[in-house]
């Protein structure tokens, strides 16, 4: 290509510079100071639990002593379990291929952050297997600790490092759709159920 023909990049950037309206400066005040959700008065763990249920998850709040028992109960009877948590072992997992995880029944993993205002938890990983299982498994069990809960997304973004892994997602409840006559269907293309285990204290 001859040097005199501008690339699409050059053309677009030139067009943007030409078109740009007068600069609107950035508001440098920290978002969280202006916008912290003052909440409905409930405790953070109660707000989180209610929000995760509203998102379609089932939630069990338990003590530290009880968590292994609760996770085992959530996995009882499952034909295959892929675990990324110390709280339960994997068993009868499909073999290594990512696509084989379509046969996986349960994925278990921990999270390092939960958001009270919307019941979402942050799952970030460089493991392609965890990422694929998060969407292919029939159901997902996630363990979140009370001390890892924050009030809202402003607080969440202040805590997480989105660049730490190529993939990170806020998961709120199981997959769902209301695309057919606004009828809520739980379990669209991703998992049909999400069990949130909330460890108190």
């Amino acid at each position: 290509m001859s040097a005199s023909v501008p690339s699409a990049r050059d053309a677009i950037l030139a067009a943007v510079r030409e078109a740009r309206p007068p600069a609107v400066p950035r508001d440098e005040s920290p978002a969280s100071s202006a916008l912290v959700a003052r909440g409905g008065g409930g405790s953070r763990i109660d707000t989180f639990t209610a929000a995760t249920i509203a998102a379609g998850a089932d939630a069990t709040v338990c003590s530290r002593d009880d968590v292994t028992r609760v996770v085992d109960a959530a996995l009882a009877g499952a034909r295959s379990v892929l675990s990324f948590s110390d709280l339960a072992p994997s068993r009868d997992c499909p073999p290594d291929g990512l696509r084989d995880l379509a046969a996986l029944e349960v994925l278990v993993c921990d999270t390092t952050l939960g958001v009270a205002e919307n019941g979402a938890v942050w799952i970030a990983s460089s493991s392609d297997r965890l990422r694929a299982a998060l969407f292919l498994a029939a159901r997902v069990v996630i363990v979140v600790r009370e001390e890892d809960l924050v009030d809202d997304l402003h607080a969440a973004y202040a805590r997480i490092d989105v660049r730490a892994h190529p993939f990170g997602t806020f998961v709120a409840g199981p997959s769902k759709t209301a695309d057919i006559e606004q009828s809520l269907v739980i379990g669209a293309h991703g998992p049909k159920a999400l069990s949130m285990v909330v460890v108190r204290g």
């Binding site: 677009i12 078109a19 978002a31 959700a37 293309h189």
Partner: protein, 472 residues
């Protein structure tokens, strides 16, 4: 071919979209119109409830608007920064001046890899570019994986809403389509069963796909990553498995910093569906091992809109659809009546910029009630922009001669007090003495469904003269 259940956009003389005629056709089925209106109003109400749980909602909107205005007025800097960081993250960044260039780039990536089975998640941009037919004509199988989009794809229609593509369809119609195309039992109309059938059908496509294309909700300049929000997990199933991931985005989607996502993600789902957040808000900062990750930055008229002093703020749009859900005209005419990829109030301020004559009726498909402006999470002055587009349409000569004559004539009358009084008296007398059927016909489009006002014996001005001695 499945019987279409909706009217196509009505295109009149010279290719002009005729919204009034399309709306009239839509309203021929009153029950369906009521159902469509109620469905969308329900979503508006869910939005209201969700917004009421956020004590700082109005401040959040103002904040989001300010971030977007800052980003758009520094768009070149943020695009360059995004490209630098995305490239460092291992993404390949492409630039497309228009729809055609976008389609060629996407096809080029697929062809180079010999990829032929594409699974797509929701991207209004690719609708705008006509990507599906372009790829299909070149031997690529394209499967839209958002359930609503898959439904309309199987029916050979376009989406009628940017968030709920199949909102115009009854479950029986979806059932009929699935029976025809997926082999579900005839008469099956239960949404759970139908969604279950779609899940199985689409799972096979996800597992067989050799490439995926997603849209982008937000691209972060600071980190060179992007965010894709879904409820279904369909974008993620594509991204987690396919060896090639192409992310198509309009250039206006770039935002400055990660922390800005806190503002936008608190507003987006609440505005769109009334949920606190979508099931998945996926942040991508690099390809999977062995995966090729491409981002295509698309202009396609956006820089032209950016240059319009009165209309550039429409580029703040985060594609939530709240304006459509609240618009009393959209709810009673349906997305297809706008003949535009993006319908409703935002479509009516974005699309005329592409072809003012073709879309001349869109800014008039509104009473300027202002509800859209009041729900917009990024505070786009939609009603003001609709008002301004009307002036551009008239300047462009795209209103009927009859309308021009009527406005010209009435202005002359209104500017001449004595002429106004005389004609007013005539009109009142006329209304009193004309037989009702004639009066109705004389009243034109008004008289088809409405009585004219009961003509009083004298005007207020005449009464005022008599009882208050006239003007000071």
């Amino acid at each position: 071919m499945t019987q279409r259940s909706f009217p196509l956009p009505v295109v009149g003389v010279g290719g002009r979209i005729d919204h009034p005629a399309a709306a009239a056709a839509f309203n021929a089925d009153v029950a369906r119109t009521d159902w469509h209106d109620a469905s969308l109003w329900f979503v508006r109400e869910k939005r209201d409830r969700a917004a009421s749980t956020v004590p700082d909602w109005e401040a959040l909107r103002a904040r989001a608007s300010a971030i977007k205005e800052h980003a758009l007025t520094h768009l070149d800097e943020y695009l360059v920064r995004f490209e630098e960081n995305a490239t460092q993250n291992g993404m390949q960044v492409h630039w497309a001046r228009d729809a055609d260039e976008h389609n060629r780039i996407v096809h080029g990536i697929l062809a180079a890899a010999g990829a032929r089975k594409l699974v797509k998640s929701k991207s209004m941009l690719t609708e705008e570019c006509g990507l599906n037919p372009y790829l299909e004509a070149r031997g690529i199988e394209v499967v839209d994986t958002d359930l609503g989009e898959r439904i309309v794809q199987l029916r050979g229609e376009g989406p009628s809403h940017i968030v709920m593509p199949a909102i115009h369809l009854r479950k029986e119609e979806v059932g009929a389509t699935f029976h025809d195309k997926l082999g579900t039992p005839a008469g099956l109309a239960d949404p759970n069963a139908l969604a279950g059938a779609a899940r199985e059908h689409l799972r096979q496509r996800f597992l067989a796909a050799d490439c995926t294309l997603t849209g982008v909700n937000f691209a972060i300049a600071e980190t060179g990553g992007f965010v894709v929000c879904t409820n279904e997990g369909n974008a993620d199933l594509g991204m987690a498995l396919a060896p090639i991931h192409i992310a198509s985005m309009g250039i206006e989607k770039v935002i400055p910093r990660v922390e800005d996502l806190g503002v936008f993600l608190r507003l987006l789902a609440r505005s769109a569906t009334g949920q606190a957040v979508t099931a998945y808000s996926t942040h991508v900062h690099g390809p999977r091992v062995g995966q090729a990750l491409h981002v295509v930055l698309v202009d396609n008229g956006r820089t032209r809109q950016l240059a319009r002093e009165e209309f550039w703020r429409s580029l703040k749009c985060i594609r939530c659809g709240a304006c459509m859900n609240t618009c009393p005209i959209y709810r009673r005419s349906g997305g297809h009546s706008y003949g535009s990829t993006v319908p409703g109030p935002i479509g009516s301020v974005l699309t005329p910029g592409l072809d003012l004559d073709r879309y001349a009726t869109l800014p008039f498909a509104s009473t300027l009630c202002g509800s859209c402006t009041a729900v917009c999470p990024v505070k786009i002055d939609l009603d003001t922009q609709l008002f301004r587009w009307r002036q551009r349409v008239v300047e462009n000569g795209s209103v009927s001669l009859a309308k021009r004559v009527a406005i010209d004539g009435s202005t002359r009358v209104l500017d001449r007090p004595r002429l106004f009084r005389t004609l007013g008296k005539l009109a009142r007398v006329g209304l009193r003495i004309l037989p009702a059927p004639l009066a109705r016909r004389a009243a034109g489009a008004w008289g088809r469904t409405r009585e004219a006002p009961v003509p009083p014996s004298q005007s207020f001005r005449a009464w005022y003269r008599r009882h208050r001695g006239g003007a000071a």
